[in-house]
């Protein structure tokens, strides 16, 4: 008799080349049938499937004068925002029939490192080396107004992420902390209401789970941390001052990553966590079946060694929940993977 133990695995579907130099970021279109990539070569490439193969559909050039660090599709899928080291954020759309840049957001003093659309698509957040986080409102056709400049980090801000359903914003920084912000409806002022302190080095990226009550963060300290929101009058009896929620670190995944963890993606369909690491590995973590919601345990269910030949910079689950993963690397390549657990 031969017993076959089925192990969760990550199968490579395709390797895509085309960028010159570091590929910093990849972003799925909300419908999951197209994605965008960007990097050191100052171009944005849009990819979709031709038959069974992914191929470049469009290349956007001349939008930026320096490295493009991040790109993000708006929730409606009609706009693309790109953040660049040239201190600007560009908004692209194809109202004219083809993609072109119809708005440029200026204000950051130098490198813009992160950009994110709010769930409604009405707000946009950017962050950068000047230590600030900006909130922009979509004011009309190709018009964006600055709603707030938040100066609460004391070092550069690496990434911003919105809560999946509310206008709550989180930012990760070189100052080792994560800050959470919201708008006060009384005076429309944005402010920081929580500082998440526990990482021992730069926090590179962050991702909310589908409820928005948990946040996963990854860091140069080689750990991943899971944080939970405790609202006023919570059942657990966690003390909450000033009627504001408290965020507590409820789990630290250490001993898995051997170098800086550059990115983390939380699948809103399966609850699986994927990480991109400087040790060239993609890892998948799954919450244990008997996990305590206030002190959860996660198991490493898949380790893809040599996922790339250099640092993995970005990893992201297909938003349709089909367990497809996109990754990109310093090696100039983009890879598409399919995860299977049975």
């Amino acid at each position: 008799m031969i017993y076959v133990t089925k192990m969760p695995k990550l199968d490579l579907e395709q390797t895509l080349t085309g960028h010159k130099g570091i590929v910093w970021h990849v972003s799925w279109h909300p419908q999951g049938k197209m994605f965008a990539s960007c990097g050191e070569d100052k171009t944005i490439k849009l990819w979709s499937k031709e038959g069974q193969e992914w191929a470049i559909k469009t290349v956007l050039v001349d939008g930026h004068k320096r490295t493009i660090r991040q790109i993000e599709w708006s929730p409606c899928g009609n706009y693309l925002a790109s953040a660049s080291f040239d201190a600007t954020t560009a908004i692209w759309d194809k109202k004219s029939g083809q993609f072109e840049c119809n708005a440029t957001l200026e204000g950051h003093e130098n490198e813009v490192k992160g950009v994110a659309w709010s769930p409604s698509g009405q707000l946009l957040a950017t962050c950068g080396r000047d230590k600030s986080v900006w909130v922009w409102e979509v004011a009309g056709d190709d018009e964006y107004e600055c709603e707030a400049v938040l100066n609460v980090h004391n070092q550069d801000v690496k990434k911003v992420a919105w809560h999946p359903s509310l206008d709550i914003l989180a930012s990760a920084s070189y100052d080792n902390t994560v800050k959470i912000y919201k708008e006060d409806p009384a005076d429309n002022d944005w402010s920081c209401f929580a500082t998440l302190q526990s990482h021992e080095s730069t926090v590179w990226s962050l991702a909310f789970d589908k409820t928005g009550e948990r946040l996963a963060t990854c860091s140069d300290d080689k750990t991943v941390k899971i944080w939970k929101e405790y609202k006023p009058n919570n059942q657990e009896g966690v003390i909450v001052a000033d009627k504001e929620s408290v965020w507590k670190c409820i789990c630290t995944l250490s001993g898995f990553h051997t170098r800086c963890v550059y990115d983390i993606s939380w699948c809103h369909n399966t609850g699986l966590l994927a990480t991109a690491c400087g040790d060239d590995i993609i890892r998948i973590f799954k919450e244990s079946d008997d996990s305590d919601p206030n002190a959860p345990t996660f198991e490493l269910v898949c380790t893809k060694l040599d996922a790339h030949s250099q640092d993995v910079n970005c990893v992201t689950w297909n938003p349709t929940g089909n367990q497809e993963i996109l990754s990109c690397s310093d090696d100039g390549e983009i890879r598409i993977w399919s995860f299977s657990s049975d």
Partner: protein, 153 residues
């Protein structure tokens, strides 16, 4: 604009000898792994940003402060600024890093750090040198790149 060097009168040391070439260097059947000496040869002649001297002559870099792991593809270089308040420490570290990134195969992870205890801002400089996003952004700054290229040339 003239600026006085942080350390006006640094100690100067003799240069070491050239690497001895052995018969195995010519043997195509012997796999040639990277060793500490080879890494040292790549960085010993980097010029100090402030003096007409090399990093070897100032003992900022020494072969004994280099570690190579060919299996883990790791290169670790500790460098020693001539004085603990040297404002050029980040620039020197960046020059070493850039030289190794250009010269070594991409599979290597290069770590450049200050020799423990030799600089007042050791932690801050090390953190900056280890942040590849900051390094990438710095290398897009033409003025800085020119200075680094002069050091490496």
């Amino acid at each position: 604009m003239t600026k006085t060097a942080d350390n006006v009168n640094p100690d100067i040391y003799d240069k070491g000898s050239e690497r001895e070439i052995t018969s195995s260097d010519y043997d195509e059947n012997i796999e040639d792994l990277f060793d500490e000496r080879e890494i040292f040869d790549l960085i010993r002649n980097i010029n100090d940003p402030e003096h007409p001297l090399t990093l070897e002559e100032l003992r900022v870099v020494e072969e004994s402060n280099i570690k190579v792991d060919n299996i883990k593809n790791l290169v670790h270089v500790s460098f020693t600024p001539t004085i603990p308040h040297c404002s050029m420490a980040t620039l020197i570290g960046l020059s070493i890093r850039v030289q190794l990134l250009r010269a070594l195969p991409a599979r290597f992870k290069v770590e450049v750090e200050i020799t423990p205890g030799s600089h007042a801002s050791e932690y801050a400089v090390n953190k900056q040198l280890a942040d590849k996003e900051r390094v990438a952004a710095a290398l897009e700054n033409n003025n800085l790149l020119q200075i680094i290229n002069q050091c490496i040339a």
